[in-house]
């Protein structure tokens, strides 16, 4: 149950009473319904509850955030989800390493041709 007695986004969406020990209430507040809609669509409410319950309480918030992030990206990109981001980052790293090598090679030339 949310502070003030209202239902959390999960219990609102699932059309059920929000108990005082609801596993979702801290991480899926009523003011962000889309957050729970995404995780429910991708993982299902019971999977999310199971995953959160298997974690220590101090890590559940981070886990809920990362599940929301992955679910949102999977909804936006049903084929690759956030794996597409990982691939793009790998490409950017490859490009950056290539440019860095070129720049450092040019720097070596500059340094070696400088007369002190």
């Amino acid at each position: 149950m949310m502070p003030g007695g209202g239902r959390c986004a999960a219990c609102k969406y699932l059309r059920r009473r929000c108990p005082s020990d609801c596993i979702f209430s801290h991480y899926f507040p009523a003011n962000d319904p889309q957050r729970f809609v995404c995780v429910h669509k991708i993982y299902g409410a019971s999977n999310v509850a199971k995953m959160l319950q298997q974690l220590p309480a101090n890590l559940q918030a981070e886990a809920a955030d990362s599940l929301s992030f992955e679910a949102r990206h999977r909804v936006e990109d049903p084929v690759y989800g956030c794996v597409g981001i990982i691939h793009r980052l790998h490409e950017q790293i490859h490009n950056a390493e290539t440019q860095l090598a070129r720049t450092q090679a040019q720097l070596s030339v500059f340094i070696s041709t400088r007369i002190d």
Partner: protein
């Protein structure tokens, strides 16, 4: 899978594997762990619904990315794939910094050379300054990398998931 053995999904779910089973092309019976991971994280019915909404020619890639995400989540129940993204972003930032340092050094040397033209050999004086400017411009494009998140990471080395020889099964 018709008269042949059921696919890994139908084996795990203990049901008859229909000829048009949506899982059969992607979860062969010789790799039960692949479906087991995906089922554990996403659930079979959610995976089925997701695949049904994707054109057939893209389903293999979708399954591969779901398997990747499921494996990442099982390995790291708190951050999953997001841990990898955080780590790779920090790598990009480090490279940007190194590039900026190298570019600054080149600029300093160029300025010194412009102020003291006699301080270089003839080959350096023939250096094409325009090349360096376009190098700087192209290097600055790295600043356009979007910051996807600000999570802490618990991952180690991360391979490119879309390189076929790495994590795709």
């Amino acid at each position: 899978m018709g008269g042949s053995s059921p696919c890994a999904s139908c084996k795990l779910l203990r049901r008859r594997c229909a000829k048009d089973c949506i899982f059969a092309p992607y979860f062969p019976s010789d790799d039960p762990q692949k479906f087991a991971m995906v089922h554990k994280v996403f659930g079979a019915s959610n995976v089925s619904k997701m695949l049904q909404e994707i054109p057939v020619h893209q389903r293999a890639d979708a399954v591969s990315s779901l398997v990747y995400e499921a494996n990442a989540r099982v390995r790291d129940p708190v951050y999953g794939c997001v841990g990898a993204i955080s780590y790779l972003q920090s790598q990009v930032s480090q490279l940007q910094m190194q590039l900026a340092v190298a570019q600054t050094e080149i600029l300093c040397i160029q300025m010194q050379q412009e102020n003291n033209p006699l301080q270089t050999t003839s080959s350096a004086s023939q250096m094409d300054i325009q090349d360096d400017k376009s190098l700087l411009l192209s290097c600055n494009n790295l600043n356009l990398i979007p910051q996807y998140l600000g999570f802490a990471s618990s991952s180690n080395a991360i391979q490119d998931p879309l390189k076929r020889e790495s994590l795709w099964t």
